[in-house]
Amino acid sequence: MISEVVLENNGINDSMLAYVVSSLEPKAQDLAKLAIVKNEIGLKASKALFELVSKSLSLEELKIDTCKIIGTAIEDLVDKVSID
């Protein structure tokens, strides 16, 4: 069982990160911590993150550090999460 995922400096762009994050969705129930460091987050990745966060019941920590943020991805994510 994977409870923690760290994605750091994987050299992937927004859409690839979205794909990786969405592939974690089947395991969202067990996921307690997700850290995304030194990667690129755009609208697609933020949407995938929102999907993951909304499905996860046990997520305790979402860490986004030193990432290249495209547009208003983080604001949109925060807005969606807070509205939800």
Partner: protein, 227 residues
């Protein structure tokens, strides 16, 4: 990959470097005052070390075998005469370089020690290269071989274990047909991961080795779009 033969001319290069260093040092002794002399000496010493480094880089293809290691010594009977000749040539080369360093009476004790440490470091690097990038499939990486290395090289244990895990996973992927009915591999999580990937038509990336205590740590692990 073919095994290139040992280039003995490198010894000549080293000899020239030593002579050049000595002549520069003598000239500097005559011309410079104490501070400049010390600076020139340091620069020359650094250039000598850099030259030795360059020579070693050129010799990256040369296999260095640690004859102290019994396990490796026992494998000598499996080597071809050409390989044994290469090993002997390499050992002679290292010995000559060490002798050159020992004969340098213009260096003080500290400087000699520094040069020797530099040489030892390069020997270790050559040994590690030899163990990690050997093409002979019958030779496995063994953590025992790293027992020869000093305590400062302990992080290499993790490199060895990671490489071994990756190698084992590749073996499972390559020869999975043979293992399907094997009880030993039925317990292997790597084998189940591979079977699952095959069932779901996914590329079996060796990321399963990156899971430890429920943590999937993909730090500095470059991903691409795949096929």
């Amino acid at each position: 990959m073919t095994r290139p033969s040992l280039n003995i001319d490198l010894l000549g290069d080293l000899e020239l470097a030593v002579k050049e260093y000595r002549s520069n040092n003598v000239a500097n002794n005559n011309k410079c005052d104490d501070s400049r002399q010390a600076k020139a000496k340091r620069v020359n010493r650094e250039s000598f070390i850099m030259h030795v480094d360059d020579l070693k880089k050129n010799m990256e293809y040369i296999k260095f075998h640690n004859t102290i290691n019994d396990e490796m010594a026992n494998e000598d009977h499996m080597k071809t005469p050409k390989e044994i000749q290469e090993i002997n040539d390499t050992n002679i080369l290292w010995t000559n370089i060490e002798n050159e360093v020992n004969l340098r009476d213009d260096l003080d004790e500290y400087e000699q020690m520094e040069l020797k440490e530099n040489l030892e470091d390069q020997k270790r690097q050559a040994l590690i290269r030899d163990m990690l990038f050997d093409n002979d499939e019958e030779r496995n990486l063994s953590p025992d071989k790293f027992k020869l290395l000093p305590e400062s090289n302990k992080p290499l244990d993790s490199i060895v274990s990671n490489t071994n895990a990756r190698k084992n996973f590749m073996l499972i992927c390559r020869e999975s047909d043979k293992f399907i009915e094997s009880e030993e591999f039925d317990k292997s999580p790597e084998f189940h991961y591979f079977k699952r990937c095959m069932q779901e038509n996914c590329l079996p990336l060796p990321t399963i080795n990156k899971i430890s205590d429920g943590v999937l740590m993909l730090a500095g692990y470059k991903l691409n779009e795949g096929v």
